[in-house]
Structures are given as C-alpha cells and as structure tokens.
C-alpha cells in the first residue's frame, strides 16, 4: 500500500529541466551557456531583458517583469510575480516561534466581590435576624408552656402584621375568610394562608441556632432534620398537645413560618451540613495524592541507587537500596489499593451513585493506574547480595578480560544456533550475564524474586545497563551477544501473543511427561556416569517427541555435544559468550515454584558459575547460601522449550565437569534425608507447572492497557475490562509480595515478614472475591 501511494507523482506530463532559454525554450546545459546563448540569439530583442538576465539569479523577479513587458502583455505589471523569488529559508517555522507570554487577561474579581459583598451583607443580616428570632422562640420549654403564653412570647419576638392589612394571602392570592384563616410567620410576622404555611421543627431550630453559636457538637444528624421538617401536619394534629386549641391547631414542637423564611433557613442548614461533611472520596483522594508525592520524591533517589548498584559500583549500600525499594513498593501498593477503593466507592449501594460520580471514580483510578504503570516501569530491580558481590567482582573482572577478545567467530556461530533452538526462552539470556553467581544449596534452594514490572521491560532495562558495562569494558563480543539477546527478546514478544493459547493447553500434559522423562534420565545418570553424553542426546530426542519444536533443537543438542567434547576452558569462554544457556533454566520457574526447588535448577547456577568464573574453582562453597535470584514472577517467556533446555543444560554440564555434579546431588539428597521433599523432587515439581495459567496473565501489561481507558466508558464492557485488570494486578501483586516475603525472611527482617504476610492474605482474599464476582 505504501508503495502504491508513493508514486502518484511519478511522471508529470511533460517536464523540462535544465537551463531553458525563456524566449525560445532552447535547452542549454548550464547557466553560463544560457547567458551566452541569450546574448547571442536575443540580444537585439530587448535591452532591458538582456540587462536583467545578467543578474538572473539574484533578481529573477525583475527579470520576469521585463520579460512580461517584452512579451507584449498589455496588463500593467501588478508586481505579483514574486512567488518564486524567495528560496533562501530564512524564516521560522510557526512551531518554532519564540515563546510568548500568556495572552491578555482581565480580572473582574474585585468588581464581582464588591457587588457580592453588598448582596451578602444583606443576606447575612437576614439570616442572622432569623436565627436570633428562632433562638428566642425556642429558648423556653414550649411543651410545658400554655399556648397563650407561647403566643405572647412569639408576638414579642417579632411584631405581627395586622390582620386587616392583608385581605389575601400574599403567596397564593387566596382570599382570607372564616375558613381560610390567616396565619402569622413567627419569624418575620407576615401573614399567609394555611396552605402556604411552613413549619420549622425544634431539632432543626436547635441545629441552626447552635451552629451559629459555633456549638457544633450538639446538632442533630443531617438526616433527622429533613424528616421532621416534612412531617405531615395531620400527625401534628393528632398529637396530644394539640387538643388545647380549637380554633387554631397548635404545634408545640414546631414553629410556623412563611415560605421565604423557611427557604433561607434550609439554605443555611445545607451550608452547615456541607461545612462538616467530607465525603469518603475526598479523604481517600487526599491520601492518594500524598502517596504520589512521596513516590515522586523517593523514586528518583532509588533509581540513582539501583543504577549504580547494578553497575557494580560501591557508592551506595545495597541494604539501603533494598529498604528503599520495599518502601516504594509499599507506597505503590497503597496507591493501588486507594485508587481501587475509590473506584469501588458506592458500587454496592442501592441506589447506584450518579453516573458522573462513577466516572469521576474511574478517572481517578485511571490516572492512578497510569501513574503506577509509568513510574513502576522505571523502577529497576536490584541485584541480590551475592549478585552484587559478583557484579563488583565482574566489574573488576571485565577490566581484566579486556584483552581476551578471542574466539569471536565460534562464539557467534554458537550463539546464533543456540538462539534459534532455544527460541523464546533465549530472551532471558542476558540475565545470565548478570547473575553469574547464582548460588545454590540443595536444602534452601529457593528462588528469590524481585521482579515487579513487565518482565520484558525489565529485561530491556537490564540489557541497556549490560551494554553500558560491556561498552565500558570494551567487550565488543559481549555487545554483539546482547544485541542478539535483544532480538530474541523482540521475537519473544511477538510469539508470545500467538503461542500463549496453544501452549497453555499443551503445557500441563507436556510437563508431566517431561518430568518423568527427566527423572528417569537423571537416575540413569546417577548410576552410569560415563554414559551421560549419550543420554543428553537421548533426552533431547525424547523431548522432541511430545512437542512440535523447531528442528534446530536437535542441531543444538549436537552442537552442545560437540562443544562439550572440547576442552573445559573452551567451554568456559563459549558459554560465557552465550548466556542463552544460562538463563532458560532459571527463567522457566514460575513464581510459585521457588518453594519446591529441585535438582534441575541447581545444576544450572552451578554451571553458570563454572562458566563465568574461571577463577572460582569451587563454586559450591561460597555460593551455598545464595538463593536463586531474580525470578520473573509471571514470566510469560517461560515457554515450552524451557524445561527441556534446562535439562540439556544439566546434561551438558555433566559433560564438561571434571567432577561429577550428580554425586553432589546424591550426597545432598542423602544428607538432607528428607525423602518427602527431596528424594522425589520431580513429583512436586509438577505442581508449579500446572499453575502457570494463573501467573500468566500478569505478564503483559500492554495488552491490558487499552481496556483500562475510562474514556471509553459508554461501551458498558468497560467495567468488565476493569475487573479483569484488577485480577491481573492482584496476581502480580501477590507474586510481588511473595517475593518480598522471601526477601525479608532471607535477610532476617521478621517484622517485615509479618506485615507482608498480612498483606498477602488480604490480597488473596480480594482475589478470591474478585473471582467470585466475575464468575457470577
């Protein structure tokens, strides 16, 4: 399509370019030729023209004019031929016009206030007058005073208008007679008919008077007064105290007044109510804004820290950064919770709030979501303690490695092939470059999670910092690798969408099968070490059976096999150059899995260590206490191939080790001697693989975002979209919190663990509720 519309002007009808003589249209090659041609051929024709042509370029306009005259055009020169003149771009694009001050404005506020003050004075006086009278009318015990006496008091408060002066009701115009009797307003003394008469109840009166006295504590609840005000007259007739008067119904507990006075009083009452009442939404909103301000303050500080730490610098303390991170995370949670609360305000009430109220709530929620998304994405993760140590070492190491720019060729070849094979999982490779030193310990092998945002973004974030590092260390080959990684990252993003559905369904069955397969192979290995090479291949082919994987896989297996046949040092560099082998195993673990860790992942970090740390001869010792790090809680990239790859890794690893890692494992299992958890880890392992559906959703915020938009309110499906997000957010949140809990536990901050556990419970409850809601 683009090509289609790119060519509309391909061939204009007839185009003549170059230096055409304006008079005979002879085509000349260059300007000087044109000029000489002109002088030769047309010199006799018009001196003016020739003269002007000398300055052709500069004075094209004038030349034109002369030419026009020469052509015998009888019209006078209108001077309108200048449009082709200015081709020096000296002007300014209107977008670039210099900044201007705000336009003119004029305030009418002082005028307005002047007029209003006059009016308000009048109004205030009016209101105060009424309140004072009202106070007098209610200052005695009306119930226990004779009606005559009451009337006397009432008459003393305000002079009553004489009956004779008012033959008709001033409000409705009806004539007063024996049936339509006159009534006096007790507040202003005016006369009206019964129909036009209003009543002020005592509670309302006391509320108004006490409010004026600033004795706000004693007022009745806002709800009670309207009821009493609108109480029907009939009920007052039947009241016990009304018997005393025959001619005139008596309202002991009410004060008669005219409509106007009543209006004024009601307005006043409304004002009083509003003064005191802060709606829930305002309280929540104020908290929300406070939190946002806090984030705005703290986040930049944290980002500075994290960047520095991730680069292996020692400017900041890792602990501090971790604390700050947790703190900021909490604020985000709070913002999220607050805005959610605002969103759901009044939703369960009957009647439903006004649509505009709901829209307001949605808008606030939307802006809070945007805020969190925007800021949270910028919040990079921190290395674990050991990673950090590693990073520091690595930083030094890389400087040392600068000289080792060898084996580029092989490395690249290897990388590309493996990349193709590992497919999407390779996207996480670059993590490997950073978390070299994933320590492992059979008993406490729990993965640690500190991921929050979209994993893809996190990855990219990491990549940049790695590239920076690599660049800083002049490690060209690594830079290449990282580029490769990035490509795979993109690949993943694309495939993820389409494969998601298929995979989810396939996955469970596959995994089970897979586990069994792996288990068997591992067991075999334990007994027959010397056959492991063969077996790694075997496992490959097996795995090919139950998934339609790319052919490369096989190839890679072979490649691995070949490579591993090489000397150990070769492996080190190669694999160092190819982080794709390091991460998949780590990445494949869904969030929940970290509690039931197995043999398989243990191998991987070990291998990582070996590969990357040539210096570190016995990785098992100094990494024993390091947890598995940086799991994406909801990693969408943990795809079909990952378990297999990890397995091939184990196999591969066994190939190249001088010693046998399986011995180690065996030992560990034995020493731990907890058969339930350790002797058959693969059985347990199956659970997490059945779960991925749950954490799956939270992986891709980009898809959700479109539906979050409250501007599309009218559609009706909007609400459900919102709910879906809630759920996803919740899941993400839960994952996060789990990670924090582990984090806190690990570093011994028990108080935090408690708090977080509480949070987690709450979140789970909400999630359950939400699900219930969406189900019904």
């Amino acid at each position: 399509m683009a090509a289609g519309c790119a060519a509309p002007f391909g061939e204009p009808a007839e185009v003549r370019e170059g230096f055409l003589c304006p008079l005979c249209l002879k085509d000349l090659q260059a300007f000087h030729q044109l000029r000489s041609h002109y002088e030769e051929e047309h010199s006799g024709e018009d001196r003016d023209v020739r003269g002007q042509l000398r300055n052709l370029v500069q004075k094209a306009k004038r030349a034109k004019r002369k030419l026009l005259k020469r052509e015998g055009d009888d019209r006078t020169d209108s001077g309108s031929q200048e449009r082709y003149e200015s081709f020096s771009y000296g002007g300014v694009d209107p977008y670039m016009w210099e900044p201007q001050e705000v336009g003119a404005m004029r305030s009418h506020l002082s005028d307005f206030k002047k007029h209003r003050a006059a009016r308000i004075d009048h109004y205030v006086v009016e209101v105060n007058k009424l309140i004072i009278r009202l106070e007098k009318l209610t200052s005695f015990d009306r119930a226990n005073t004779e009606s005559a006496k009451i009337r006397a008091i009432e008459k003393s408060v305000v002079p009553w208008v004489s009956d004779q002066d008012v033959p008709f009701c001033p409000d409705c115009g009806n004539k007063f007679n024996i049936r339509n009797r006159r009534h006096h307003c007790r507040l202003c003394g005016s006369i009206m008919c019964k129909k036009c008469m209003e009543l002020v109840s005592l509670p309302l009166a006391s509320k108004l008077t006490s409010a004026s006295k600033e004795a706000l504590g004693s007022h009745t609840s806002p709800n009670s007064s309207p009821n009493s005000v609108h109480g029907s007259r009939r009920s007052s007739i039947s009241s016990i105290s009304s018997v005393s008067s025959v001619l005139d119904e008596k309202d002991d507990d009410r004060i008669r007044c005219c409509r106007h006075c009543k209006d004024t009083l009601l307005k006043r009452e409304q004002q009083i109510d509003e003064k005191e009442y802060t709606p829930e939404i305002v309280k929540l909103y104020e908290k929300l804004r406070l939190c946002m301000e806090k984030v705005d303050q703290k986040a930049p500080e944290y980002i500075r820290m994290a960047e520095s730490l991730n680069a292996g610098e020692t400017t900041y303390n890792l602990e501090h950064a971790n604390d700050l991170r947790v703190e900021i995370q909490k604020v985000y949670e709070f913002i999220d919770a607050l805005s959610k609360k605002i969103l759901s305000l009044g939703l369960h009430e009957d009647p439903q709030p006004h649509p505009k109220t709901l829209q307001l709530q949605r808008m606030i929620r939307y802006s809070a979501t945007l805020f969190v998304q925007e800021k949270l994405l910028g919040l990079m993760s921190l290395p674990t303690k050991d990673q950090y140590e590693e990073l520091k070492k690595r930083r030094l190491h890389m400087v040392a490695l600068e000289t080792r720019g060898k084996q580029d060729e092989k490395q690249k070849d290897f990388v590309s092939r493996s990349a193709a094979a590992v497919n999407g999982d390779a996207t996480h490779l670059k993590k490997g470059t950073v978390r070299k030193s994933e320590g492992w310990l059979p008993t406490s092998s729990i993965s640690r999670e500190s991921e929050i945002a979209d994993p893809l973004l996190q990855q990219i974030d990491n990549i940049t910092s790695f590239i920076k590092q690599a660049k800083a260390a002049n490690r060209i080959d690594e830079v290449h690798m990282l580029q490769e990684n990035l490509r795979q990252l993109q690949d993943e993003y694309d495939q993820q969408q389409t494969l998601k559905a298929i995979e989810l369904s396939k996955r469970q069955a596959e995994e089970e099968e897979m586990q069994r397969e792996e288990l068997q192979v591992l067991r075999e290995k334990e007994w027959e070490r010397e056959h492991h090479k063969f077996m790694s291949q075997h496992s490959r082919t097996c795995s090919l059976d139950f998934r339609e994987v790319k052919q490369h896989e096989h190839e890679v297996a072979k490649e691995n096999w070949n490579l591993t046949a090489h000397a150990l040092d070769l492996d080190i560099t190669q694999i160092k150059g190819d982080p794709s082998f390091e991460t998949p195993a780590v990445e494949q673990l869904p969030a929940n899995e970290h509690l039931i860790f197995t043999l398989k992942p243990q191998n991987v970090p070990q291998r990582d260590k070996d590969q990357d740390q040539t210096a570190c001869l016995n990785p098992f010792e100094d990494e024993a206490d390091t947890p598995q790090s940086e799991e994406d809680p909801a990693n969408p990239f943990a795809k079909d191939t990952s378990p297999m790859v990890s397995f091939s890794n184990t196999a591969l690893q066994s190939d190249k080790k001088e010693y046998n890692p399986f011995e180690n494992e065996e030992e560990d299992e034995q020493t731990n001697g907890a058969p339930g958890s350790n002797s058959n880890p693969f059985e347990e392992d199956e659970n997490p693989f059945q779960k991925p559906g749950g954490s799956w959703n939270s992986g891709n915020p980009f898809e959700e975002r479109s539906s979050t938009n409250p501007f599309e309110v009218e559609d009706g499906n909007e609400i459900s979209g919102e709910e879906a997000i809630e759920e996803e957010l919740l899941l993400q949140q839960i994952d996060n919190i789990k990670a924090y809990i582990f984090d806190a536990k690990h570093s011994g901050r028990m108080d935090e663990v408690e708090v977080l556990t509480e949070n987690l419970k709450e979140l789970k409850r909400t999630l359950a509720k939400q699900k219930e809601k969406s189900n019904c």
Partner: protein, 560 residues
C-alpha cells in the same frame, strides 16, 4: 504569535490558579475539550443532569453569551461544586458581572476573569471561528458579524497585538469588519494597551469572494488533502464510511500536538507522505520482533529500549496514518483524482482555453469522475473563462445534465460565479496567467520542475508577498484610519471573511518559513474544503439559476 500556544497557556493558567484538588471543567458548546492535571470531569454548563459534587472545584470556561450568563446565575444560586473559578473567553459586560455577583449568595466564586480564547486554534499560525455562512449576499449577517468581531479581537488580545488595520476595498463586509474591530479596540483601549513594538502589527482583512478558485481545487498536501477528501472537524476525522474500517478507527484524531508524524508531515505532499508512511511502517516493523536484523548498532538498540513504552502508542500512530493514507489513496484511485486534479490545475493556472475545454469535456465523459468533481471542473471553467469570447459553458452544462449530475450541483455552478465571479473580484485572479506561464518556464530553467498537481498558488500568496515587501497597493487595500505603516510589516494577521483553506494555511506556513523576521497568522470564519465552501456559497444566499442557458452568454462588451 502562536495561536495554539496562546490557548494552551490560558488553560494551564486556569488550572494552575485553582490549586490542588479534584476539578471539573465546565464548558459550553464552543469551548473545546482539554485534559489536564487533576481535571477529572468535563461537563457542559447546559447539560441538564449534572450531579452536585461538593468536593470538586469547578473551572468554568465559557463564552460570555446571554444564555451562558443566565445558566451560570442559576448555577450559582444552587451551586453544585465547592468553588467556582470562572473564566470568560471574551469581554463580559459590567452588568453581567453584577448579576453574577448578586447570584453568588453562598460565596462560592473564587475568580472571575476574561481569558481571550474565543477562537479555535487549528495550527500555530492558523485559527478559525467555525462559522458557516457568515454573510447574506454581500453583507454581514449581524449576529455573525458580532461573533466574528469577538473572535478576531480575542485573537488579538491573546496574542497581545494592537494592530493597524487594512482591508480589501472591493469587499463591503471586509470594511465593515475592520470598522467593528477598530471600534472594539477603541472602546477597550485599556485592554489593548500593550508594549509598543517598533513596527506595529498589521491586521489584513480579506474576502473569500476575491478568490473562489482556491477552495474549489483538489489538494495534495496531507492536511489539506485530508480535509478535502475526508473532512477535518476540530482535529477529528470521521472514517466510519471507509470500507472495512475497524471499530477503534472510526474516528481518529489528527493533532500536531500529540502526533509527531502528523506534525512532521501535514505540509508534505501525498507522494512524500506515502514514502514517509512506508518508513514509519518499516520503523515500526523494525521494532516489531519479526524484523530484528536491522537493529545492528547499539544506538539502534538503545532507541528500541527507549522507545519501548511508546510501542503501543506508536502502533496506534502507524495504524491511524496507514488507514488515513490508505483511504486517501483509495479515493484518489476511485475518483480518478490525479487526472481531475491535473485539469483543475490547468484551469486554475493556465490560459489555454481550447485545451482546457477539451480536457474538461473529456473528463465529463469519464465515468470514473464523480458528479461532484465534474461539477467542480465546470465551476472552475465557469470562473476562469467567464468572459472568454468562445465560452462554452452552456455546452458543458448540457454535458453535466446528460451525465445525470443532479440539479443542486448544476445550480451551484452559476451560484459560484455569482459569488466569486469577475464582477465582484477586486484582484486579477487569472489575468497574469499568460505571463505566469512564461515566467514559470523561464524559472523552471533555473530551479527545476514543480509538481503538476500543486502548481496553483492561492491569490493570498501574492497579496501577502506584496504586503511583506511593502508593495501592497493602498488603493486596493486601504488602511482604516489616517495612519499608515511606513516600514515593512513584521507581525501580520490575515483574516478571510468567508473562510480560509488549508492550501492557504500551507502558503502562509511557507511564507513564514521563507521570510526572516516576518510572522503571519492566518484566520478565517472557518476552514473550508470544497464541500463546505459550496455550502457557504449557498448559505450566503447565492442559490444559482436552475436554467443553464440564461446567463452564460459571454459579455465580451465588458472586456477591456
């Protein structure tokens, strides 16, 4: 001089003034929409079902009309929000302020100001008043005149310009508007008391009827073309009639403010847009996982990483422009617009009657040419060769009728001639064309070929060019009042009664680009495409004659 910025600054000032807290923005039909910090709701003052929300602050941005003041008085009597910040988009009378003040018994009003945003800023250098049919015959509709005066003075105030005024002598309405503007400036002299510049700004008021050709031409630059073929209304384009359009693209927003691609391409021609779209797509695809091989340098990657959050936004931009350009492309093919446009340009720019007539006849026979375009061609012919000795308009009209072009279009031919024919024109729209042709060829030799489809330059180009050079004739464009400008003007505001066009917007843009020290802002009662221009002609009371033959006899006697 930036109209868009002027309005933006007003709005941000309003929101700033009202301090922190949740806000609702109350507007009327005309004050346009804005989403800003902490503004969560937008309401129309006249919407019946507004709920009282005492926890919100209200920012009211309203035109100071009778109805609005009345509605506001009702509102203040029973306030729905806690505090009101009231901004009128134009001068409000003292008596209205008083009535408002007296209604504010609960003291909810915290601010009453005039912010002169009483116009629609289309581009930084283009504004519109969105008025259609401003004249009745040759003279103003009084209501429209007062609205136009308000809009124009508001623009002057928002840009802080107190200009000298020139107007087109041949147009009675131009003179009338000039006088009204002058009146306001005199009356509100305190408001117009701005810091004096060395060269005072200039307001030039023109009349559309002087150049009825420009709004009749098909356009090939992006903004103008979109408006001509699809129609731009407050930055929105209705794509609902596009075959197979997806739901979220039914209506798209084209705003240079938030759409970088549009900002960069709105003045480029269709061919350039096509290749830029292609680049954009490639760009997009490169970011898409499939085609990664182009991410070779670190800079590429960095760009990707940095752009990642924009991924979504970018894909929106891509699909939007691909759709729009695709639709334009489809229409161009379906309506045979390349050929039509070529003949249009010939009619507008050249003086070869027989060739023009031949081409028009040929296209009238072409079934692909729409009735609308056919009528448009005949209109252009009628305008240009109105008094040509061998005028064959009757024949063309017969052709139109034979082709089945409805009466309403055929009537418009004479209506357009009546609106902008030779009799009413103050300038020579076609006369220098022979000369132009020669000059063009002459200059082609110097600087290469121009585009066949965009050879037309609106009359405004010449007028402004002369103005900038200080050569615009006082006899044709007199000053209002005794003072004249001795220097060349620097800040120029041109206003076209009867509507400007995007072609003219482009012209002014280019003039701004090419003339150092000169800033020109273009305004009109509206921004026309051909369709709206013809509506304008009809609304102004030129209905045309239904019989083709009555008026077309060439009046050779009146030729010079």
């Amino acid at each position: 001089m930036n109209a868009v910025l002027a309005v933006k600054q007003y709005v941000s000032k309003m929101i700033e003034d009202s301090g922190p807290g949740m806000k609702v923005l109350l507007m009327d039909r005309e004050t346009s929409e804005i989403l800003q910090k902490e503004v969560y709701l937008f309401e129309r003052l006249d919407s019946a079902n507004r709920e009282a929300m005492k926890h919100l602050k209200a920012i009211c941005f309203l035109r100071p009309t009778k109805e609005n003041v009345e509605l506001l008085i009702q509102e203040l009597r029973r306030p729905k929000y806690s505090i009101y910040f009231i901004y009128f988009s134009n001068v409000i009378s003292k008596s209205d302020v008083k009535s408002l003040a007296e209604a504010d018994e609960q003291e909810v009003v915290a601010e009453v100001q005039e912010f002169y945003g009483d116009y629609i800023a289309v581009n930084p250098h283009v504004f519109s008043l969105n008025l259609l049919g401003c004249c009745q015959g040759r003279s103003w509709d009084p209501a429209q005149l007062s609205r136009t005066t308000q809009g124009l003075t508001a623009l002057l105030l928002s840009l802080k310009k107190c200009p000298m005024i020139r107007y087109q002598l041949s147009s009675e309405s131009a003179k009338r508007l000039a006088e009204c503007v002058k009146q306001v400036i005199t009356k509100e002299y305190e408001l117009f008391d701005f810091r004096r510049t060395e060269v005072p700004p200039l307001l030039l008021i023109l009349d559309r009827s002087d150049d009825a050709i420009t709004p009749l031409l098909n356009q090939w630059t992006y903004q103008a073309m979109v408006h001509e073929l699809l129609g731009i209304n407050n930055n929105r384009i209705d794509l609902s009639r596009v075959p197979g359009i997806s739901k979220d693209l039914r209506e798209v927003v084209l705003s240079a403010e938030n759409d970088e691609f549009y900002a960069n391409n709105m003045y480029l021609n269709f061919a350039e847009i096509g290749s830029n779209i292609k680049n954009l797509m490639e760009d997009f695809q490169r970011r898409k996982p499939k085609e990664q091989q182009k991410l070779e340098s670190i800079a590429d990657m960095k760009a990707f990483v940095e752009n990642y959050p924009q991924f979504k936004k970018m894909s929106g931009t891509v699909s939007k422009h691909v759709t729009v350009v695709g639709e334009l492309s489809r229409l161009v093919g379906e309506r045979n617009l390349l050929e039509v446009s070529e003949v249009e340009q010939e009619l507008a720019c050249q003086n070869d009657h027989s060739s023009a007539l031949q081409n028009v006849r040929r296209l009238l026979q072409n079934p692909k040419v729409t009735e609308f375009d056919a009528a448009r061609l005949v209109m252009l012919y009628a305008l240009h060769y109105e008094r040509h000795s061998s005028n064959s308009l009757p024949g063309l009209m017969t052709d139109l009728r034979n082709r089945g072009v409805p009466e309403k279009y055929r009537k418009l031919v004479s209506a357009v001639v009546e609106y902008g024919g030779k009799r009413v024109r103050g300038s020579d729209l076609f006369s220098p064309k022979d000369a132009v042709a020669i000059t063009k060829q002459f200059l082609k030799g110097l600087k290469g070929v121009e585009n066949v489809y965009t050879q037309h330059q609106p009359l405004l180009q010449e007028t402004l060019d002369q103005l900038i050079k200080g050569k615009l004739k006082d006899s044709q464009y007199p000053y209002l009042g005794p003072n004249t400008l001795r220097d060349r003007p620097q800040d120029i505001i041109v206003f076209i009664i009867g509507g400007a066009t995007y072609e003219e917007a482009l012209t002014v843009y280019n003039l701004n680009r090419t003339n150092p020290g000169v800033r020109i802002v273009l305004g009109g009662t509206t921004i026309h495409n051909t369709k709206s221009f013809l509506e304008e002609v009809t609304a102004s009371g030129f209905r045309g004659r239904s019989t083709e033959s009555s008026h077309v006899a060439p009046r050779s006697s009146s030729r010079r």
